[in-house]
């Protein structure tokens, strides 16, 4: 290793493609303004489905990020990752030589992978025949290809893994990449998540699981975490990527530093395939682990970006977990759910929300939870209702919980 590890990991670049914009700053402006990115679905005809709304990425042009041949045929989930990773790398100001290429890895995951590819090729198989399945079906469907493609297009040759933990994927990618740098196996990591599941298979599947809001006549008001009238999550799509870097290496090159990753906690509910543990046991364990390895107390956390998907049970369980970990402080610490604006971007959510935590610290602004008209008394927290709030902030915690009972907590400092 040409660059000896300092054991500390900072964030030096951010990239995002979300329902609120095609860049980090456009997205963040939407968040601070309390704008919803949810609307009636346009990529498919949603009329057969009980849920007909989602947070779609609008006006995305893949040819901005790769050559025409690739852009035309890669799965949307790959194109999103390529775009957000390119933004993050540019934002970091990193200049690569051969040595640094060997020491730069990519951890980008996806909850479901190339669902458009799977849908199209399944159709080809049954409608056209066995020899009409594309040779690109497998490579574009497998959920590790977003990270594979980012490494190929940017010639990054370090460790490359795609975590797959449903809605915790993006957070696991960042936490695992943090560990790779911390232990000295890479100097720089591009880490994040990507998702593009707003198609027939994705919508039909989550409708069947009875997990999504059916407030089709009021799309912008459908994602309403912690509100009494919430009726399920709203699917979003997009990608978020962070450039993580060894702190000494970043300082030596005079990099602009957004913040430091200091805590990473993980646990499993070991309870049910989709339902969270009723007392939030696993969520609490993940938060405790992250605080412990960050060397922080609960009272030092100035902001929590909640998993907060707007499902009836999930939000309550997260509040129970917060109380189990933070005691009375849980009712005072600001806890917002930005999914009220982006929708739930599944495997990308943990990465997009880590970006919001870093920008909240940079700008001294707490993102709101929108659509809180009548707060659920069982969610008696300061959810930063409806309007962003100024706050001097130096420690932010982000929760992500996934089907399968995967719980992840990240803690970042300014």
């Amino acid at each position: 290793m040409a660059h000896p590890p300092s054991g500390r990991v900072v964030v030096t670049g951010l990239g995002a493609v979300t329902p609120l914009g095609l860049s980090v700053e456009d997205t963040w402006q939407g968040i601070v303004a309390g704008r919803s990115g949810i609307d009636r679905i346009t990529q498919i005809d949603p009329s057969p489905y009980t849920t007909q709304i989602a947070g779609e990425v609008k006006d995305f042009d893949a040819t901005q990020w790769m050559d025409r041949k690739e852009a035309r045929r890669v799965d949307r989930v790959i194109a999103f990752a390529v775009a957000s990773a390119a933004q993050a790398l540019k934002d970091s100001g990193l200049v690569f030589d051969e040595e640094l290429r060997d020491e730069t890895g990519v951890y980008i995951g996806s909850g479901v992978g190339g669902l458009w590819t799977m849908q199209e090729q399944t159709h080809n198989l049954y409608e056209k025949g066995a020899n009409k399945v594309s040779p690109f079906y497998i490579p574009y469907m497998i959920p590790n290809m977003p990270g594979g493609m980012v490494s190929i297009l940017n010639d990054l040759r370090g460790p490359n893994v795609a975590p797959v933990t449903a809605c915790s994927t993006g957070a696991n990618a960042i936490g695992d990449a943090y560990h790779v740098i911390k232990r000295g196996d890479a100097t720089v990591m591009v880490a994040g998540g990507s998702e593009a599941a707003v198609n027939d298979l994705g919508i039909a599947g989550f409708c069947a699981a009875r997990a999504m809001s059916q407030r089709n006549d009021e799309p912008q008001r459908a994602s309403r975490p912690f509100d009494l009238a919430r009726d399920g999550f709203v699917m979003g799509e997009g990608s978020g990527c962070l450039v993580l870097e060894d702190r000494d290496f970043a300082l030596a090159r005079g990099a602009r530093i957004y913040g430091e990753v200091v805590g990473y906690g993980m646990s499993a509910d070991a309870t049910h395939i989709t339902n969270p543990h009723p007392e939030g046991r696993g969520a609490a364990a993940a938060m405790r682990m992250a605080l412990r390895n960050a060397g922080l107390t609960a009272e030092q956390v100035g902001y929590v970006n909640a998993h907060g998907t707007s499902t009836s049970v999930g939000d309550v369980h997260e509040v129970k977990a917060l109380k189990a970990v933070m005691g009375e402080y849980a009712t005072r610490v600001p806890v917002s759910s930005t999914k009220s604006m982006t929708g739930h971007t599944l495997g990308a959510a943990g990465a997009i929300e880590a970006i919001f935590c870093l920008l909240a610290m940079r700008d001294g602004v707490l993102p709101p939870t929108i659509n809180v008209d009548d707060q659920d008394p069982e969610c008696d927290i300061d959810c930063v209702p409806n309007v962003a709030r100024k706050a001097d902030l130096s420690v932010a915690l982000s929760n992500s919980f996934g089907f399968g009972g995967h719980n992840v907590t990240l803690i970042m400092t300014k």
């Binding site: 025409r68 041949k69 690739e70 035309r72 045929r73 020899n131 594309s134 040779p135 690109f136 490579p139």
Partner: protein, 79 residues
Amino acid sequence: MSEDILNRVKKVTVEELGVKEDEVVPTASFTEDLGADSLDVVELVMAFEDEFSIDIPDDEVGEIKTVGDAVTYISKKAA
């Protein structure tokens, strides 16, 4: 060489391989000159099958190395 078939082969090749139309000349090799890898070739052959409503068996794909080969093969099949 049929002009109509050549033009349609060009159109499909431009779309599948993302190359410029003036590169798609009869002597151009799909892999050597137009940058196709093994997966691209499979996809390209499938696109020819769709475009011309023909079936190209795997053991005959080897006959199609250049744009001109494709036109000759398709002319024979479609005849």
